[in-house]
């Protein structure tokens, strides 16, 4: 370990300016806007990593993930600016820097150090939520992550004699960190209990680093295919019932982590690149979803003008070809088909469509019923826009990151994905949803004593109906008034682009969209 560490620590790891900025932002005893220190740190870190002319430390896909981390942190800072939250900002910056350093580390020892830093910083982010629930969730988060860290340490200690046991400890540790069931509850509680700003920082780092580490250390471990698929399917079910928006999103995160783990289990070059692409895309769209949810939550559930277009864009970013989420999923799916696991491809496509319907469209239908929230601030809008554009950029140019990405643009995955998304939208956005809704309260009228699990199950089915029901109203926007929605979205975007007035903004946005479509499909 001394040798491995000496190698890993010989150079300053990438991301160190962010760790420094985080410490300064949190600890400087003078009044200073933490976010400004953070922006400086982000710029310095990007500069050092990509422009200062040093030897490239990261492979293209890892570098793209590092950039995505920076963008997420940038969006988090912008969002936080509207609701200053010093500890969350400081810890978020440290986590960003540590995540970049973890990507660059080449030894297990280095990985352990940085994941531990991420864990501590993330636990602080959760606790900064301030409520009793947040503190409890943060402590649970910390203890579980440290347990994983101890398992890693034991794995390294045992590893000196190169046994299978050592590998098992490391695998177990990484799976805990990647929120694999049955050890996933910590993630759900933590994300839901953090402050809205905190949840933006949280959703990006810890789990993605664990996934990348799994991809490096355990590619082609067949058991992971099954584990990953089970995780994807089991985690997507609660998204149908969950009424707390952030918990819903977190279940969706777990489900997508399952898709990544399945890809790692397959372990072909195509699958692994797909996993990395999905990790990058997921960082972008999950954060975008949390930004939208956070903006609404900040207003006590009253929808502000200008948020709805972003909610729609966020939903589309999950899976629409040409946007961030599609690329990785499609490449993993193609890899599964190539390996003769076509059924598994169907599973992940369906799971992806359900996530699109529940995490993307369902809030759009259900959560925007009460208008009148305070106007979306420029910074919140900028945070969302930054991520939307990142999603566009990744969807458009992500293909250049890996030769395997080409698979995503074959006709089959495009058509399959198109059908799946359309079906999801149909169920979510048409009267089908209303027909299926059932009032859970009706059960009480029966007045027959029943074990609670029966009630739970019945209510569950009722809620499936409700969920399917939820697939309704938004396409009243998309199908009935699709044009209006697109226009609305464009205008919403334009307010924050504001280059020469609204009209130019619309033109500009439409131009970008058109270019993206041409690049993607041309």
């Amino acid at each position: 370990m001394t040798e491995a560490l000496a190698l890993d620590l010989a150079l300053l790891p990438p991301g160190w300016p962010l760790v420094l900025a985080g410490l300064l932002a949190g600890l400087l005893p003078i009044p200073i806007a933490a976010r400004n220190v953070g922006f400086l740190g982000l710029l310095a870190s990007l500069w050092l990593m990509f422009m200062a002319g040093g030897a490239p430390v990261l492979e293209p896909l890892d570098a793209a993930l590092a950039i995505a981390f920076h963008l997420v942190a940038g969006a988090g800072l912008m969002f936080a600016a509207a609701h200053e939250d010093r500890i969350a900002i400081a810890a978020g910056l440290v986590a960003t820097g540590a995540a970049c350093a973890a990507l660059a580390s080449r030894s297990l020892a280095g990985l352990m150090i940085w994941t531990e830093v991420i864990a501590i910083a993330s636990a602080l982010i959760v606790m900064a939520g301030g409520t009793q629930a947040a503190i409890r969730a943060g402590l649970a988060y910390l203890l579980l992550q440290v347990l994983a860290g101890v398992l890693l340490l034991v794995g390294i200690a045992l590893g000196s004699d190169g046994t299978v046991t050592a590998g098992a400890f490391v695998l177990l540790a990484l799976l805990i960190k990647a929120a694999a069931p049955p050890v996933h509850g910590w993630l759900i509680h933590a994300y839901a209990a953090a402050s809205p700003t905190g949840s933006i920082f949280l959703s990006a780092f810890a789990t993605k680093v664990a996934v990348i580490a799994l991809a490096r250390l355990f590619p082609g471990e067949p058991a992971l295919i099954w584990l990953g698929l089970a995780m994807a399917v089991l985690a997507v079910i609660p998204t149908l019932f969950e009424s707390d928006w952030r918990r819903l999103l977190t279940w969706a995160v777990v489900s997508q982590l399952g898709v990544m783990i399945a890809g790692i289990g397959l372990g072909t070059a195509e699958a692994l690149d797909g996993v990395r692409l999905l990790a990058i895309g997921h960082v972008v769209y999950a954060t975008l979803l949390f930004v939208v949810a956070g903006a609404l939550e900040m207003r006590g559930g009253k929808a502000p003008a200008g948020l709805r277009p972003f909610a729609l864009l966020a939903a589309l970013t999950i899976g629409l070809p040409g946007l961030a989420g599609y690329l990785g999923k499609a490449v993993i799916g193609e890899a599964l088909i190539d390996a003769g696991l076509g059924w598994a491809d169907i599973v992940i496509v369906v799971v992806g469509a359900v996530v699109f319907a529940t995490a993307g469209l369902r809030p759009l239908v259900e959560k925007f019923g009460t208008p009148g929230g305070e106007r979306l601030s420029l910074r919140e809008g900028a945070a969302a826009l930054l991520l939307v554009l990142a999603g566009l950029a990744l969807g458009s140019f992500g293909g250049a990151l890996s030769p395997q990405a080409e698979a995503a643009f074959h006709a089959t995955p495009l058509i399959v994905q198109g059908i799946a998304l359309a079906a999801a939208a149909l169920v979510m956005l048409t009267p089908v949803r209303r027909l299926l809704r059932q009032r859970p309260g009706a059960l009480g009228a029966l007045a027959v004593p029943m074990p609670s699990w029966v009630i739970g199950a019945v209510q569950g089915f009722g809620r499936v109906g409700a969920a399917l029901d939820a697939i309704g109203g938004a396409a009243a926007g998309l199908i009935g008034g699709g044009g209006r929605l697109v226009g609305h979205a464009a205008v919403g975007l334009a307010r924050y682009v504001s280059i020469g007035g609204v009209g130019d903004g619309v033109l500009w946005t439409l131009t970008v969209l058109t270019i993206v479509l041409i690049v993607s499909f041309g």
């Binding site: 600890l27 501590i120 900064a128 402590l139 390294i156």
Partner: protein, 498 residues
């Protein structure tokens, strides 16, 4: 100066400083200047010793012959120099902190305080450089006696009772089991000199050696192995800088250092490793877990930290009991890392007391907002004590895991993992409550804008800088640990660095 001169300087410098401090009692600033100058001088002297150390030419100084065969003698060797380095390095920081703390608390009898502090350092240096068990015993007893006035400092009823307990435990353990073990060793081996490879192999059977090792483990009461740990929580009546001295700088460290020294130079590492230490492994591991669990139940911050020390230093005893070069290396590193981590925690607890006059976990909700740097240092110290990277505390835990796995002690691996979680379980709540807790409405002191001097959240700079420095030390030690390993490797027969 030659190595011999430096060794004598290290012992005599604090002694002379104690005298000067007593003389300068009328002028507090002059008195503190003497302390700080002596601390700097001592740190420099020990550094010279470490930098110039060469096993081939390390001299032995015979001071006096008490009885035939009982010679007081000094000899420098790597483990002792590491201990001396820690004690000397932390003395200056602790003194700075003492100035901030004692003045803010308007403590009486400060001259006696600083003088005894210097005497304690002199005794610690003598322990570190003792050339045989007899010398070590004399210096060890001296340390007990000169720290008594420090523990009893406030001279309240509670302080007197606590200090009596302190004295009773330490004197009783050293007069019965420790002295008995020393005499047994002498009669078996015919010498008490610290010798590479030990002096007992072949002189006693393994059964007798097992008993002898247990006698030493409990005779060195300063190591606070359960169930003879009661003096340590009792000594919490002392002012916080004294607690820091007890836990981090000299006293408890002298205890576990003595055990390490006995393991390496009296028993021989291999002798213990072939099964002599097995009973002690169980006792030490149980001590680690039990003390951690007790720590969780304590509301008083310093009591929590005291039980934490019992748990963490049982790990050094554990390292001794495992008996392999790797384990001994873990023990030595634990001595260093725990010193830096725990002193940070005590500085933190004391600073909280100075700034807010609160001593209990249940009272400190929300005070962290005013003390961000202090609480960040506290967090770093806590994580280091728990053994998380990238802090120094990770190394001893890691080496212990390796040592345990090399001997296939899987249950012990589980214990060590559990101990990290338990450590966080009792340390993290302090940080969390202070930083994220909401002050209760029924507590009048918790109201903001309470600026009546006491509880105003004002912290003297001298009480803030030392914890920040030691917290940074925890970080630096993470990188520096391999250097320490290389320094002690020849003495303990550690071939390849892990």
């Amino acid at each position: 100066m030659t190595t011999a001169d430096l060794m004598l300087t290290a012992i005599l410098l604090p002694l002379a400083a104690a005298l000067l401090i007593a003389l300068a009692g009328r002028s507090p600033n002059l008195r503190e200047a003497v302390t700080l100058a002596a601390a700097a001088g001592l740190a420099f002297t020990v550094w010279q010793l470490i930098a110039g150390f060469d096993a081939g030419t390390a001299p032995t100084i015979a001071l006096a012959q008490i009885l035939p065969g009982f010679t007081l003698m000094l000899r420098a060797e790597p483990i002792g120099l590491v201990f001396a380095g820690v004690a000397a390095g932390l003395w200056g920081l602790n003194s700075l902190y003492s100035i901030g703390y004692m003045r803010a608390e308007h403590a009486p009898r400060q001259t006696r305080f600083y003088a005894c502090f210097a005497l304690a350092l002199s005794a610690a240096m003598a322990i570190a450089m003792a050339g045989n068990l007899a010398t070590l015993f004399v210096a060890y007893e001296a340390l007990t006696l000169v720290t008594y006035p420090l523990v009893v400092h406030w001279q309240t009823e509670g302080a007197i009772a606590g200090a009596r307990r302190y004295l009773a435990y330490l004197l009783a353990t050293s007069l019965v089991p420790f002295l008995g073990a020393i005499l047994w060793t002498w009669s078996a081996a015919g010498t008490l000199d610290f010798t590479a490879g030990g002096i007992l192999d072949g002189k006693l059977g393994d059964g007798a050696l097992t008993v002898l090792l247990l006698l030493f483990a409990y005779g060195v009461g300063k190591a606070a192995l359960m169930p003879l740990h009661g003096w340590l929580p009792a000594a919490m009546v002392a002012p916080t800088p004294v607690s820091a001295l007890l836990h981090a700088v000299a006293v408890v460290k002298a205890g576990v250092f003595t055990l390490l020294k006995i393991a390496v130079y009296i028993f021989g590492i291999d002798v213990i490793g072939r099964g002599v230490g097995d009973v002690l492994i169980v006792i030490a591991a149980a001590s680690v877990i039990a003390a951690s669990v007790i720590a969780m139940t304590r509301d008083d911050l310093k009591a929590r930290l005291a039980y934490s020390t019992v748990a963490q230093l049982a790990m050094v005893t554990l390292a001794v009991a495992i008996g392999s070069p790797l384990a001994i290396a873990a023990g030595i590193l634990q001595l260093v890392m725990h010193a830096f981590g725990k002193i940070t925690l005590f500085f933190g607890a004391g600073a909280i007391q100075v700034a807010t006059h609160k001593k209990k976990l249940s009272e400190i909700a929300g005070i962290g907002a005013k003390l961000p740097l202090l609480m960040a240092s506290f967090l770093v110290g806590a994580l280091s004590v728990a053994g998380l990277p990238p802090l120094g505390g990770m190394w001893p835990k890691f080496l212990l895991l390796e040592a345990a796995s090399a001997r296939d002690l899987y249950l012990l691996i589980g214990c060590l993992g559990l101990s990290t979680l338990l450590t966080l379980g009792y340390l993290a709540p302090i940080f969390i409550t202070a930083v994220f807790g909401k002050p209760g409405a029924e507590d009048p002191h918790a109201l903001p804008h309470d600026d009546h001097g006491h509880g105003s959240g004002h912290l003297p700079l001298l009480a803030l800088i030392p914890p920040v420095v030691t917290a940074l030390g925890c970080l630096v030690l993470f990188v520096a640990a391999p250097a320490i390993l290389r320094f002690v490797a020849p003495a303990i027969g550690l071939g390849v660095l892990p």
